[in-house]
């Protein structure tokens, strides 16, 4: 059995693409692991691993940035749909 432990655990709060996140990293053996958690709802958004803390965090943050940016785009699309619907309703009212 190759027993390891998580060591050098660090955690900090930050913002990525406007979303509040918590970035956690630690070392297990000779590998560093990092997670980016969405503070609300508290779930992991992205993970990374690498030979150094910086490398692990860079991977996790890059993936998180990509994913969170996509969420913003969906939000923008939904807003556009709502605006179009409101405009159509206005036109309908004027037509009547």
């Amino acid at each position: 059995m190759s027993t390891l432990r998580a060591e050098e655990l660090q955690s900090r709060e930050d913002k990525i693409e406007g979303w509040p996140v918590r970035i956690t990293s630690y070392r297990v053996g000779n590998q560093y692991r990092s997670t980016v958690d969405n503070i609300d709802p508290g779930a992991t958004v992205a993970r990374g691993a690498g030979p150094s803390r910086e490398a692990a965090e860079l991977e996790a943050i890059s993936t998180a940035r990509e994913r969170l940016a996509k969420v913003k785009r969906l939000e923008a699309s939904l807003s556009a749909v709502h605006e179009s619907m409101a405009a159509m309703q206005d036109l309908f009212k004027k037509g009547n």
């Binding site: 432990r5 958004v45 998180a64 994913r67």
Partner: protein, 283 residues
């Protein structure tokens, strides 16, 4: 005030003292299954929620036969105590717990704080995948009182009197976003089931991932109308976060009529003609 059924929780200390207990089987279930491979509690079996805890053809839970096979191949007998834990403060560990109760295995515990607490405490991790002699586990049930199907939720909306608890994040509930970042299962419409109250699952946890006190949990759910004596249905997006809430309401707070609607928003939000509400809940 103690939890209604405190015996369903075990602490990380207890788990470390029972790593080699032959009557205990530790099982890790993660939202991200690769977490297990990177290091798990020594001796823990790893289950993949997507491939091992879901039917692979129909969108459904495991069949009785498939559940029996999973348990047997994991070296779990009918008298084995199963201790579940996982990432995201036990999202899918709670999902596995819920399925165990449906299939009649009540000798199951959740490790308070999950994988996060175990790691933050610097407890031992292992990368070896253990093998255990197969057993002949036999399931009972299904216990249908733990699960809400679409027709029941639809009836509850029209009839009233049932507390619908939406455990997703506020932006999902209000309809600002379709799904949390990085999670692929989505839907055609954003918003929530009319009449539902929003109690995000994460509100039940402390910073270290453990559950908040009974007093705090009672206040949280009473304020949302999920009071004693009232039927409660919890839902989220695919049913895993709401199984976490189901666990809290049923075992920590002792609510008697609690169901998890695992069809959740990915079912409701894709239904033609289903009523959808947007914006925050009416409190």
């Amino acid at each position: 005030m103690p939890y209604a059924q405190p015996e369903v929780l075990v602490e990380t200390d207890w788990v470390e003292q029972h790593l080699t207990d032959p009557k205990v089987r530790i099982v890790e279930v993660d939202a991200e299954p690769s977490e297990y491979e990177e290091g798990h509690i020594p001796g823990a079996v790893g289950w993949n929620w997507a491939t091992q805890l879901s039917d692979q053809r129909v969108r459904d839970l495991l069949s009785k036969e498939a559940f029996e096979m999973l348990m047997s191949h994991s070296g779990i007998a009918n008298d084995t105590m199963v201790v579940l834990y996982g990432d995201n403060n036990n999202w899918f560990a709670a999902w596995a717990f819920w399925q165990m109760v449906i299939w009649g295995h009540d000798n199951v515990r959740l490790m308070n704080g999950g994988r996060k607490k175990w790691i933050s405490e610097g407890r031992p991790l292992d990368t070896d995948r253990p093998g255990y002699p197969a057993t002949r586990f036999t399931a009972a049930g299904p216990d249908r009182t733990q699960r809400a199907m679409l027709s029941e939720v639809m009836a509850a909306v029209h009839r009233g009197g049932t507390s619908l608890i939406d455990v997703r994040s506020p932006p999902e509930f209000t309809g600002e976003i379709y799904a949390p970042p990085g999670l692929p299962e989505t839907c055609q419409r954003a918003g929530h089931i009319p009449g539902a109250r929003n109690v995000p699952w994460g509100k039940v946890c402390n910073e270290d991932g453990t559950f908040r006190s009974r007093e705090e949990l009672e206040a949280l759910y009473n304020e949302a109308g999920a009071t004693h004596g009232k039927p409660i249905i919890a839902y989220c997006r695919i049913g895993e976060r709401s199984s976490h809430t189901w666990f809290v309401l049923k075992y920590l707070l002792g609510r008697h009529d609690v169901k998890n609607y695992d069809g959740s928003w990915t079912e409701w939000g894709n239904l033609v003609g289903a009523p959808v509400a947007v914006g925050s809940d009416q409190r």
